[in-house]
Amino acid sequence: MSAGLVSVLFVAAALVAVGAFVAAWKRDLTAALAGLPLMFGGAGVAFAGASRFAAAGGSPVFGQEVSALLAVAALALVALGVGIAGRGTSR
């Protein structure tokens, strides 16, 4: 059994699509925010996979770096969104 770049990109595409599905499907806007970390996670997996299987020439840890930054950005955006949602309903 083995997994290559195509498998990684398939999983990444599925994660992005599931995140988009969550964002489109949920009636509650705050719950729709949960699609954001899934989409960012899918993009991060694609970056990490492309970096893992990359040919020589680029920096081999660039994908890990972008994945880590995407995870932090997802957390920040979720925190901001949940905070704004809490503010919106208190009035």
Partner: protein, 163 residues
Amino acid sequence: MDSLHAIGFYVSAAVSLGGGLLVAFLPGRGSRGLAVAIAGAGIVGLYASLSAGFAGLVALVCYAGCALLFAAPQYRVIDTVVAGAWRQAGAVAAGGLFAILAYAAWRGDFAHASPFNFGAIGSAAIGRLLFAHDALATEAVGALVLVALVGATAVWRGRDRGR
């Protein structure tokens, strides 16, 4: 990728995608937070099987934070005014997005290369990249985190003051 890593990769993929679908269909903030945690655990497993240990550690903390935010008592529901037909169209569009991305991955002409090995974590090389070569991107994300934390604190304090 050897068999052990491949098995870990496919199991983690199933866990992350299953968690993502649970996020879509489970009601309630507690169960939704748990589903986000499951999906995050799957994504961390994907990073680990791709030899991206540092990204996995960062993602572990971030997805745990996301799960706590979705399960927290401060969570408030905001119902959308979008009609059900538009939501269904969005769901179909998400399926179309997957079809396009999967087709691009399937038809892509990728070169085969020997994978790198920087150890389990590889934090030294990533640290050099984050704080030397790509310092601007790191600072941009740091600014985003600062704005998000200050904004979230401001709106929470403003809501408490309004009570």
